[in-house]
């Protein structure tokens, strides 16, 4: 079991290196594996940022459906007017592993949009890192599972 994990980690590491070489001159950041595997939302934030403390912020907007049609595909858009955003992360506390995605913005505008999986009704937390501290806002998404088979 242990061996497996080790093997996987080194595979992932070599893969990251590979992309590094495919794309010359890129700023390397390691894949935050621990954060993505943590089963607890606060734990995942801690793994990712070294802290799980954040300030609730009115300057972050989440656009997501109140009721998800199908938890397999939930559109989520995060935008923020906060200056100098380093990263935007999407965390779903009700998922088995809450950290869904984290975007390092490299000077891009404070905006990301993607589609995520949600296992059950839960909060979607958008965490913005800027100026070395964390800001966040949340929205509940109700998840009902489809009834028509096959």
């Amino acid at each position: 079991m242990k061996r497996r994990t080790l093997l996987k980690t080194s595979l992932a590491a070599s893969v990251v290196m590979a992309v590094g070489s495919v794309i010359p001159g890129r700023v390397m950041a390691a894949y935050p594996k621990a954060a993505f595997e943590n089963k607890d939302a606060a734990g995942a934030l801690n793994d990712m940022f070294g802290t799980s403390d954040y300030a609730e912020s009115g300057d972050i907007k989440i656009k997501a459906p109140e009721i998800a049609e199908n938890g397999a595909v939930v559109p989520v858009q995060v935008s923020s007017s906060i200056a100098n955003i380093e990263s935007i992360s999407i965390v779903v506390s009700g998922n088995p592993t809450p950290m869904i995605a984290s975007f390092n913005m490299h000077g891009s505008e404070g905006f990301v949009s993607t589609r995520i999986k949600m296992g059950k009704t839960s909060d979607v937390l958008a965490v913005v890192k800027a100026g070395g501290s964390l800001h966040a806002t949340r929205q509940e998404v109700k998840v009902t599972i489809g009834g028509c088979g096959g």
Binding site: E69, N70, V74, P75, R115, C148, G150
Partner: protein, 277 residues
Amino acid sequence: MRKTIYTIVVSLITSMIGTLALASTPTEDLKAFQQYYMDRFPDTPKSDFNNGVYSIDAAARETFESIEEFAPYEIDIEKGEELYHKPFANGGTYNDCFGEPGVRHLYPQFDSETGKIVTLESAINDCRKAAGEKKLKYKKGTIAELTAYMAYESRGNVFDIKIPNDPRALAHYNRGKRHWYSKRGQLNMACADCHWTNAGNMLRAERLGPAFGHMTHFPKYRAKWGNLGTPHRRFAGCNSQVRAKPFKAQSDEYKALEYFLTYMGNGLEANGPATRK
């Protein structure tokens, strides 16, 4: 889970209301069918019924539109385009059979030579067979990539399915119509129980869509499947759901059902492929 389905189904209205008369002609049926849904959902413009349940559910429509903005099937359309134009081993192409890819809105057809119904999927395999190529599986995969491209090229064309004045064509039509109104499965429910009598009502967490517009957008990408499916894949799902044994894809029964149901949507614009939950 099983129990829940039972109770909810029981809570739906179970006696059918105002069905099509059994002896009416296709033209009369079509008029009554479309009028029923337009009366039931007066806020939905006629041309919008090709958006299925999203034509009557504003909240769900937002998600739908957000996904349609860059839908997962766009990759399938691209694959389908390559497949469609790649010559067969004998040098022939699909265009030799179809003339052009944008023909989705013309199927199914009645073939007066064989007396059979030809669906777009069966026509694709007939085309392959004639060229000495292997048949494709009918529910998903390569065939759905091909029809995704063909549907895409057909977008905006109006469905115009023909029921020629031929007793064999009429027999297929009536068989499909009968399937649609017949109760089946352990739950003893007809397509019409859900999609006619209870259109707009909730089945567990799902809103039941109107059947006017059921066939305009295939193949469709269902979030639940995570890939594209053909009409008969959907029929099989809806048969299984009432715990009836599904028919085989491209069986005469499903071809007849598709013939009837697509004809009922005549006048709507082709808008496949599309995403559904």
